[in-house]
Point group: C3
Chain length 345, copies 3
């Protein structure tokens, strides 16, 4: 693709040096050749920009003077680069229709433009809308709905009665709609409480590999439009996640917690159940969330790694931190007494 | 179902107001109509109870006066509600026999009342007992045994020689009996130690989605009767978990650790290997368990989230906590000297 | 197998007592009979060694005097035991060729000695080398390469364009080459940045159950030769892991972090993105890695579990640790003043 055409299609202003070169791939600044296009999202990459061999680079206007190649000037380089990659590396759509090896129930309603991959199992009452791509080895259990243009990459399990929106992307190993972890005690035994609810994923949701979103115990587990869930994440029953909230890998949200819109939850965050988290709340990695947070802000917890010998000594003191605080208070009182008793000069 | 019949079948005393109404579903207190039954497990739900539109509610006798509807009085409302849900929302059993797409070894012994779902793989020497339901896309590797009335929901992998008890419930993505993480060093290289043991799951065990229970290196990994394991949990080789212990999502138990009976392990708890945990030990969420706990009790660790600016300042101090403790000790000595030197009044 | 033959084949010196006994299985010291062989890796197992009923034991020369049975003396007992287990418990290789139920693209190139299990899906352009074993229910997406003698146990998903080395072992539920978690903001919405890179696993790599290794955003995610990855681990896009590094279960490595060679990363460690970790760095369990570590060493973090009442008090103080440090500093100043003001004796 000519760089001039690419600029037009992603809405960039082209500040070119020399001819209208051809671009055929996206690349990193540091690992590019003249057929590649890269991007700069921050001034900290200026040295890499100056040294790049890319044929073109997407950037903001104030960085253009430093580029040794064609410049595509935009306000949001990362977004423009995403669009350039879509043009340069289009994904081949799966063919419409069913692979002959798929096992499809007679009562399933599958749009003729949808694609059902090899060895899928589509159970009774399932509805799959136009343009959906169900990759190989997926299981969609009874009475679930899959919205238009949604893609299940491969090996995704959708449990019964789940409702999946449009343009959703589900990665291999994701499990949507499992019967959640609900039990009643009967003496020492645990008796399963039937989980009669379901999961509702909004439009443009993404769920990563080996993540699990449990169905509501009663009612629904609701993942709002545009929510992005990374790999190995647990979402308990009746959790609600607001629009455009993003969660990085290895986090777990306990049952009935409600998370607002536009939150970011970094990796390995753990949240207790029945909490309420406001909109625009941001948790840093490995944060331990044991109470509700009703105000927008950035919250953190945890002890960053240090040399083990230091850590052992500090942890030993932490075990007596309350005692230390009491001793500090007593010292303050004693010093105040000493100060009072001191002969005035 | 008439509320009078439901009361009889779950062993509740019916305190009804008006006619013998018909109930056809379980529901939440706050989202119910006259055909629904709900429950109250604690006084904190009294406002929701008073405002409910449910047709009937399961509760203890002291709360009955506050209910605006038919009351089903029991000692353990959560347990009674679980039983009511089973009656009102019975699960349709899978049909006995094999789906024609399943790949079943000739030497597998499958009880005629068992159900083998679409696209399952049942390898040589496998034994599946009466009433077991093997959902679609499960793999049961050679010489494994599946007890009566056990259910594999879908996409469960049972590795070779695993022994699964009766009435076990395994959720999509669970992997039972993987060859565990055992290596010998050979200079800088790691050489796998063959894992010749197996996994034994007791009766009434549950393992959640994308959880893994590794086989014994030698001997067995043993999950006791009634143990409940949530999603995304790792159980290392040769771990033993006592009866009726429950583990919430995202926890990991390292190899050869023994956990007692009736323990509760909240979410994202990590346990080192070769530990011994007594019966009735309870760990709160994200606890870091680095030593054995031989006494019944509740144990915790971790730093709860706080505003990031506060957290950064406190963490910076934590790095010097041992030094702070030494300075505190020196101050105490100095103050004691000052007190001694002080002229008596 | 005669113990004398076993000793020869594992390169051990046989110090036997009595006849040349027959050994037919590996076993634990404490649970052995005369046909079993065990091993001792440390003096702490001396009591178990003295009490064992094993027919033979592998150990170092200085422990031989304590063994009540035939001794196979070596320098590295764990390694020698691994080799003995391979001889005594050989794994039956899967038959070469394709199971008739597998769905194999016409353009896939599969070596005739490779084995393709039941219900596998092998997409277009895939290359599978000699001796590879693809267990049941695996999906290998287009243009991926599987090296010689690599084994996918069952239910493994290899996403498009992944490159898997020789003698690699992938456990059930592993997902290699997922499109990683990369987004650009478009106002409040997240727009996926196409992930055009791939994953490269070196030779002798192992990836555990339900672990995920994401493909590079651009370029590669690289797992070096001999790296061992346990269950439920997340490896983000463009991570690089050096040779022979081992990672225990439940850890997560954020995107673009580079880890050196011969590191050990214990369970549930979390690493932020874009970090650089030197060779021979060791993190203990649940460590929170928020900065680069450029020096060899052992690093730790986290608060070990303690009784919950103590923990609550200490955590309450931690929230004010910075304030405590300031009060300590003020007290030191006040005491210094008092000392100066003190009349000299």
């Amino acid at each position: 693709m000519l760089v001039s055409e690419l600029a037009t299609r992603i809405g960039a202003e082209l500040l070119t040096q020399g001819a209208d070169i051809e671009i055929n791939q996206g690349c990193a600044l540091s690992d590019a050749d003249a057929s590649g296009i890269s991007f700069v999202s921050s001034r900290k990459y200026l040295p890499a920009l100056r040294a790049t061999h890319a044929g073109a680079v997407i950037l903001t206007s104030e960085l253009a003077a430093d580029a040794p190649c064609a410049c595509l000037v935009v306000d949001n380089p990362t977004l423009a680069f995403a669009r350039a990659l879509e043009l340069l590396h289009p994904r081949a759509p799966a063919p419409a229709g069913w692979h002959q090896s798929a096992v499809v129930a007679a009562s399933a309603q599958i749009h003729p433009t949808a694609s059902i991959g090899a060895l899928c199992v589509i159970e009774a009452g399932v509805v799959i809308e136009a343009g959906a791509e169900i990759g190989p080895h997926c299981v969609i259990q009874r009475d679930s709905q899959i919205g238009a243009d949604t893609r299940l990459v491969a090996n995704v399990t959708i449990c019964a009665r789940s409702i999946i929106g449009k343009r959703v992307l589900l990665h291999p190993g994701a499990v949507i709609g499992r019967e959640g972890f609900g039990f009643a005690r009967d003496g020492e035994r645990w008796v399963r409480v039937p989980q009669i609810g379901r999961v509702r994923l909004g439009d443009d949701v993404e769920v990563g590999s080996n993540s699990a979103v449990d169905r509501g115990a009663i009612g629904e587990t609701v993942i709002g439009n545009g929510v992005k869930i990374d790999n190995l994440i647990q979402i308990g029953h009746n959790v609600e996640v607001g629009e455009n909230t993003a969660m990085a890998a290895c986090s777990g949200i306990s049952g009935s917690t409600r998370i607002g819109k536009n939150c970011t939850i970094a990796g390995a965050v753990g949240m207790a159940g029945h909490l309420s988290i406001a909109d625009d709340v941001h948790f840093t990695g490995m944060a331990m969330v044991t109470r509700s947070f009703e105000r927008t802000g950035v919250y953190s917890s945890g002890i960053p790694a240090m040399p083990s010998a230091d850590w052992r000594r500090n942890v030993a003191r932490f075990r007596h931190l309350d005692e230390m605080a009491r001793r500090l208070r007593r010292l303050e009182e004693q010093v105040a007494e000493l100060q009072q008793a001191q002969p005035r000069s």
